[in-house]
């Protein structure tokens, strides 16, 4: 028997680590890794809730999150390759041509 609050605290902690990774890094690759960490933490909290309520909806939504993550990461990596071909760097700050 695990306390529900411990599991949810673990999930929030991992989510905030992913958030820090997205905010402080300037490399596009590490930003994508941070998004992966955040998606993992969200699916952990879904599984915890599904296991607490003894329903199977948590696992089904974990499946959908994994599918969405796969689609998103494939598009993100294709964009990363295009950026690297054009600018020869992975710095996200070079993409400020529009001065928005």
């Amino acid at each position: 028997m695990i306390q529900l609050s411990h599991g949810l605290s673990l999930s929030f902690f991992l989510f905030l680590l992913g958030f820090i990774c997205v905010v402080i890094r300037r490399n596009i690759l590490f930003i994508l890794i941070g998004i992966e960490i955040m998606l993992n933490a969200a699916s952990l909290s879904l599984i915890l809730a599904g296991s607490y309520l003894y329903q199977n909806d948590g696992q089904i939504f974990h499946l959908f999150i994994v599918t969405a993550a796969a689609a998103e990461i494939s598009i993100g990596l294709a964009l990363l390759i295009q950026v690297y071909r054009r600018y020869h760097t992975l710095d996200i700050d070079v993409l400020s041509e529009m001065k928005g």
């Binding site: 529900l4 673990l10 960490i37 915890l48 696992q59 994994v66 294709a78």
Partner: protein, 163 residues
């Protein structure tokens, strides 16, 4: 069983720390694989067997290998690593960490009101039940997610072409 949950939670947190503050992309990916595997152990303990298997096969087996292939293709050398160290030293990251700590304290305070609600371990949900629910209640969502995968395929082909 409870001890295993806490041990693998600590392992997941430590390896995610090493991912966030690492300068070598390949080492970061390998630590992320360790983090994902320990999360999968937690899923198995919680009784979500199908999700644990999916986590190992698709996350650690397919998405992370995609990352490794891209890093090997880009051929990032020592220059990138020195650049990363230079970027990490800047004091820009103090404010996000302070804000995140504030959020963490607030959320743990809210969650602590849950008190004595317990998750019972080893309550397995069979894959048959899962399949009935996936192709019954969530049928329309399943179709939408297949359309999402198809559109991701098309977009990746479009972005990946030579000019």
């Amino acid at each position: 069983m409870e001890l295993i949950f806490y041990i693998f939670g600590v392992i997941a947190v430590i390896s995610t720390f090493l991912v966030v503050f690492n300068t070598n992309p390949m080492h970061a990916i390998l630590y992320l694989v360790i983090s994902i595997l320990s999360l999968s152990v937690i899923f198995f303990i919680l009784g979500a067997i199908f999700s644990g298997v999916i986590e190992v096969i698709i996350y650690a087996g397919a998405i992370m290998v995609l990352f490794v292939f891209i890093i090997m293709m880009l051929n990032l050398g020592d220059k990138t690593e020195r650049m990363e160290e230079y970027w990490l030293k800047s004091s820009l990251w103090v404010a996000p960490i302070v804000i995140s700590l504030f959020f963490l304290i607030m959320i743990t305070y809210i969650v602590s009101f849950f008190g004595n609600k317990f998750i019972r371990l080893n309550q397995y949900i069979s894959i048959k039940q899962l399949g009935i629910s996936l192709f019954g209640t969530y049928m329309s969502l399943f179709e939408v997610i297949s359309l999402l995968l198809l559109s991701a395929l098309v977009v990746t082909f479009y972005f990946g072409r030579k000019k």
